[in-house]
């Protein structure tokens, strides 16, 4: 359609188009361009667009042209439009931006559908804040929370005793209490306290050689004083209890010895004879019984 001469005419159309459409072009030149327009599809469309003719408003042509232009310039506008859809759905967009976006939405089904779903989500999502729980939910929660503190203590005690080392810990505590109350019954450890005191004394002597800061000395003196006071109190209390326990043990021992002495002094045979009873003395069995001769 477009040979060498029409190409030149296309260039002329581009150059003289404004003057031609405004009627300022000489007749000869206007006729030449008109003749070319009738034979050149490209220039015919260009003139139609410039004249805002009906042909230029054909939807298919506009969309094709728009898509072509966008693809070759800024790229498809959907990405930019989608970014602004939440603001439009929330009504947080200024008038100019809203008008521009709505002009895109008027021709873009995908973005329009997305906007409609966004607007719907604003109404639907808050209704998901409450969902009916299954039947019996309230009763189960109340059953698990009524009297919870008591159950918590019981559960704690049960777990404490269920541990594998619970028996060892109880035995340790029991032994400790026993030793504190009645003294150390194990001979191998009777001298342990003396050894411990000797070691502690040596440690204290060595510590005394160290020159600590004044504040530390004060604090240390306070701690030593407090510890000495505590030790004195504990020792006094233990001694008092020990004396009590020893007095009780002496009384018990005396009573038991008296009871044994009285029991030994009783002549059992005489008592039984007095009661009309007799005890046959057991004779030792012979080495071999004559009624049961060994079989040969």
């Amino acid at each position: 359609m477009n040979g060498q001469a029409p190409l030149d005419d296309c260039a002329l159309v581009d150059r003289w188009l404004d003057d031609w459409l405004a009627g300022r072009l000489p007749a000869a030149q206007a006729d030449r361009l008109e003749a070319h327009r009738q034979t050149c599809e490209r220039c015919a469309r260009l003139v139609a667009i410039m004249r805002d003719s009906d042909a230029a408003d054909a939807p298919g042509d506009e969309i094709d042209l728009l898509a072509g232009v966008m693809n070759r310039t800024a790229g498809p506008a959907c990405a930019s439009a989608v970014e602004q859809l939440p603001a439009l759905a929330d009504g947080e967009m200024d008038a100019a931006s809203r008008e521009i976006l709505q002009s895109h939405l008027a021709h873009c089904d995908a973005c329009s559908a997305l906007l409609a779903t966004l607007q719907e989500s604003r109404a639907v999502l808050p209704t998901l804040a409450e969902i009916e729980p299954p039947l019996g939910f309230t009763a189960r929660v109340l059953a698990r929370t009524s009297g919870a503190p008591r159950r918590a203590v019981a559960e704690w005690w049960r777990r404490l005793l269920a541990r594998p080392r619970a028996s060892l810990e109880l035995a340790y505590v029991g032994t400790l209490i026993l030793v504190l109350l009645v003294g150390n019954p194990v001979a191998a450890f009777r001298g342990a306290s003396d050894t411990a005191n000797r070691v502690a004394g040596a440690g204290v002597e060595r510590l005394a050689q160290v020159k600590p800061p004044a504040a530390a000395v004060d604090l240390g003196a306070q701690l030593v004083g407090a510890f000495s006071s505590l030790t004195k109190d504990v020792t006094t209390e233990l001694a008092r209890r020990w004396e009590q326990a020893r007095a009780i043990a002496t009384v018990v021992e005396t009573s038991v010895q008296s009871a044994f002495g009285w029991a030994r002094s009783i002549d059992v045979k005489r008592v039984l004879r007095g009661a009309g009873l007799s005890i046959s003395e057991q004779k030792p069995l012979p080495a071999s019984s004559p009624s049961a001769p060994a079989k040969k």
Binding site: P86, S121, L125, I131, E132, F137, T138, V141, T145
Partner: protein
């Protein structure tokens, strides 16, 4: 009874007030738990654990004015802890939602109610297809109605990130809804 009175009575150990409290908030807590649960039983157990935690800490409850965001924060943190303890992330797979949630019917004709419930189920299914952060932002901000500052504090995410991720999450949700609609039409 206003919320402040109800909370006070619960703090004092009033069992009836506690029952009223459970009835008032069980739907909300259950809804939140379903977003972290693997199935209906798991959601029920999570929701129960939330209430037990609330009961145990009732002496330290927030005041009425700030109670709802505080309760949602407690519930969310407990759900996350439980899910982590199971060494599993909140599920992203689609599960039979008809078995899991009973969405309250709105007013209107039976047709409207059916249509509304269908749409809510569709959005719920789409919600479970989102990424973890997107789903939590939608859950806390759009569904539970927390302020964006509260969501930021709760998720330990900067305020600007919550804003931008919120819009992105809503778009992501809308795309999933449209995709599910197309699947349903096939």
């Amino acid at each position: 009874m206003d919320l402040a009175t109800l909370l006070d009575r619960c703090r004092q150990g009033d069992e009836l007030a506690w029952e009223a409290f459970v009835r008032q908030y069980q739907r909300r807590i259950y809804s939140l738990a379903t977003c972290y649960a693997t199935d209906a039983d798991d959601a029920r157990d999570l929701a129960q654990d939330v209430f037990i935690r609330l009961y145990e800490t009732r002496k330290r409850w927030a005041d009425a004015g700030a109670f709802l965001p505080w309760m949602i924060r407690v519930a969310r943190n407990l759900c996350v802890d439980k899910v982590r303890a199971r060494k599993a992330r909140p599920p992203v797979s689609d599960i039979p939602m008809d078995d899991m949630v009973t969405l309250a019917a709105a007013g209107g004709t039976p047709e409207d109610q059916y249509e509304g419930a269908s749409r809510r189920r569709l959005f719920y299914r789409a919600l479970r297809k989102l990424t973890d952060l997107s789903r939590e932002i939608i859950l806390l901000k759009e569904i539970q109605g927390l302020q964006i500052e509260e969501v930021s504090r709760l998720l330990h995410v900067p305020l600007g990130t919550v804003k931008s991720r919120s819009n992105r999450a809503r778009l992501e949700l809308a795309r999933h809804v449209l995709a599910l609609e197309r699947e349903g039409e096939r």
